[in-house]
Point group: D3
Amino acid sequence: MRRWAGTLGVNVHPISHRPKVFMATVKQPPNPESNPRVQAVFDDIRATRRTDFINNFWRSLAFDPSLLEATWAEVKAVMATPSQLDPLTKEMIYVAVSIANACSYCVHSHTAAARAKGMTDGQHAELLAIASLAAKTNSLATGLQVPLDAAFDADAAS
Amino acid sequence: MRRWAGTLGVNVHPISHRPKVFMATVKQPPNPESNPRVQAVFDDIRATRRTDFINNFWRSLAFDPSLLEATWAEVKAVMATPSQLDPLTKEMIYVAVSIANACSYCVHSHTAAARAKGMTDGQHAELLAIASLAAKTNSLATGLQVPLDAAFDADAAS
Amino acid sequence: MRRWAGTLGVNVHPISHRPKVFMATVKQPPNPESNPRVQAVFDDIRATRRTDFINNFWRSLAFDPSLLEATWAEVKAVMATPSQLDPLTKEMIYVAVSIANACSYCVHSHTAAARAKGMTDGQHAELLAIASLAAKTNSLATGLQVPLDAAFDADAAS
Amino acid sequence: MRRWAGTLGVNVHPISHRPKVFMATVKQPPNPESNPRVQAVFDDIRATRRTDFINNFWRSLAFDPSLLEATWAEVKAVMATPSQLDPLTKEMIYVAVSIANACSYCVHSHTAAARAKGMTDGQHAELLAIASLAAKTNSLATGLQVPLDAAFDADAAS
Amino acid sequence: MRRWAGTLGVNVHPISHRPKVFMATVKQPPNPESNPRVQAVFDDIRATRRTDFINNFWRSLAFDPSLLEATWAEVKAVMATPSQLDPLTKEMIYVAVSIANACSYCVHSHTAAARAKGMTDGQHAELLAIASLAAKTNSLATGLQVPLDAAFDADAAS
Amino acid sequence: MRRWAGTLGVNVHPISHRPKVFMATVKQPPNPESNPRVQAVFDDIRATRRTDFINNFWRSLAFDPSLLEATWAEVKAVMATPSQLDPLTKEMIYVAVSIANACSYCVHSHTAAARAKGMTDGQHAELLAIASLAAKTNSLATGLQVPLDAAFDADAAS
């Protein structure tokens, strides 16, 4: 009854030695809001999201105020502006793409955002079921190299 | 006013020579429904989707009835069974993942399915805007190697 | 002799400050087996793998018993049922896909599973050599946009 | 001396039967420039690139003028505005990313753009060598799950 | 019984208009073997594979003899030299990676190569089942951000 | 003003409990240079890069001296040998591919290498802007399934 663990030859206990750190490729500015352009973006993030919390993505981007401004402007326009899709649907699409792109930070931050917008555990499970099923059938279609059906030609649609 | 095309050194006309084909890696069985297991799956696809149209994905999978049965059973359970997410939301998540995985066939077939479930041009444009923005910020987060915020720890949530 | 490290401008020592944690997007249920559906799956995992060890993938999936049941049923059918491919070959294919999909957890868990099924260091090195060579030639073929040879058309095969 | 082709069991000749088409998921508007917003973007593309040629990417995006405007504004700002990196270097980075993301259209269009900006055959070969080598060592690092060196911590840099 | 196709609003017939071509990003040299370095590589491919057939991947790479030589040398060393893994297992791993990387040409060429090395339809179906299941569980593990088990630490193994 | 964090229901403080470790899938040999083949490679890395620092990628690869030798030989030939592209351009292409492939270790190590070769903060920001824009337009082109322009056909170029 112990073959799998036994073959691994390890003790199955939590490990608490050798702590390591997450490291970024840029230094977060220690006082980012001393730069008025950064402050303006952070203030707009706080006002838009109605929270004082500025997550690390924006703190890291603050190393280049232009990139920070352009990125927030786009995220605000696409994700935080009323549109044809409701906010939770948009956030779930964001999570699904982040999973497919294997972006660990993005999966965490957008799953948290989806929860903040009302995603239940059941909806989360369903999102994971769809995203993983799509990854599976994507692999099957790519492995089979399925020829495209004429019915899918948008230009042929009347 | 012609530098870009000029440097390419080509005539910018539609090309109509050298036709090529899409090729699959498996032969589609010529009469797949002569196999009763395949026929049962195709019949269920027709009944579930209320159409006579069986797209090439299923026709290609028919080379292995077991794989066909298991795949359809899962797609039906996740995508064609009433659940907490509405059918269009589920289909749009499917499209987004297919884009991120660069599966050409899947992008076509699930975009068509989303249209069949009511997706408007405006919603399609919004889906593309979200999926491509997520791909962009996924790249930024990965390029920056943004450290994870403590706030995103599900186990810490009260 | 120190230009590379010198330009980095850092001390090259192990770091032991600022410990961080791995965080999941769902809470692992504290007593997952108090749910009889979870218990049944965990019992079948133990019996199938002949070990008491239930790895975190299944413990995390336990937040949704339906997703847990469906996922284990498929993994058991494909990976833990005698078939035409031997268990080690199947596990090495699993590792290769996990590498290509940049799934850190999956690379770890399936490399451990492959070792448990007898993969030697030499076979592991060979697996890495093939997977990384394939990634390289995949890039070359995509960068060159190599036209498909008629010889690869499955439908043309006699 | 014919084992490989022989086993394939096919005649190795160009194929000219069964022509198929490339299909988009949206209809290109037949007269896109009848929309003044589209016309303005197309005019700016022509002026910026000094060519009359508008490639299909922009013609397809014209189905949604807002998405077209936002996308061109960003491409122009990042790629067609003098900056710290020279235009050819920027275009080669673009090609490399497009290869890694398996975007066939993008590989074609940005390889053509890089050529228009002076990329020689030798530089193209070198770009392919770097992109494919990176894909290979990316796979090795992911397969090995190499632990991060303390020396790569940007915050530790003095 | 026609809702799905009906909503698509298209006629579901084979399409035979507007033929298009596959295009490469480099010109295949018309007489590649007039270059003695190319000829030497092609001769070695023919001798190694015991066939006269040189597929387009090598013909396209011939635009840069150095890249051609280096690539063939590596493919020959890893794939066409007796080693600890049998040739079919190696080829199936190659196909699986090519699927995960969404390289259409590579899926075709290596599936054909696997068939040439004896892969049956049943083994092919099993390969697709494993590769697509791995893609699915990769997505689940990434979506859940499953914390790594201590048992998977290679350095802890005794 | 606290809705977002409030909905998360967590305290937004640095976490310092439950330290975890980075784990590799292979054991780093404790005295890798006791193997003369490993020593020769490490010596060449030191001489080529003019530093005593051997990063973990090479230390992990040392578990298989053949794979170590072949990998270093290729990296040295492509990246550390004078060629038509300057060393910084080559390193930035490498970083961009590593981002697209979601290889955390590679993003760190090659960003550090690019810095060591002179990349400024401004150039780094520009690299991130290009790589993330490419990821975005790659998604758009894939989502739209843009048909290929005849102008991009290399074989048609005169």
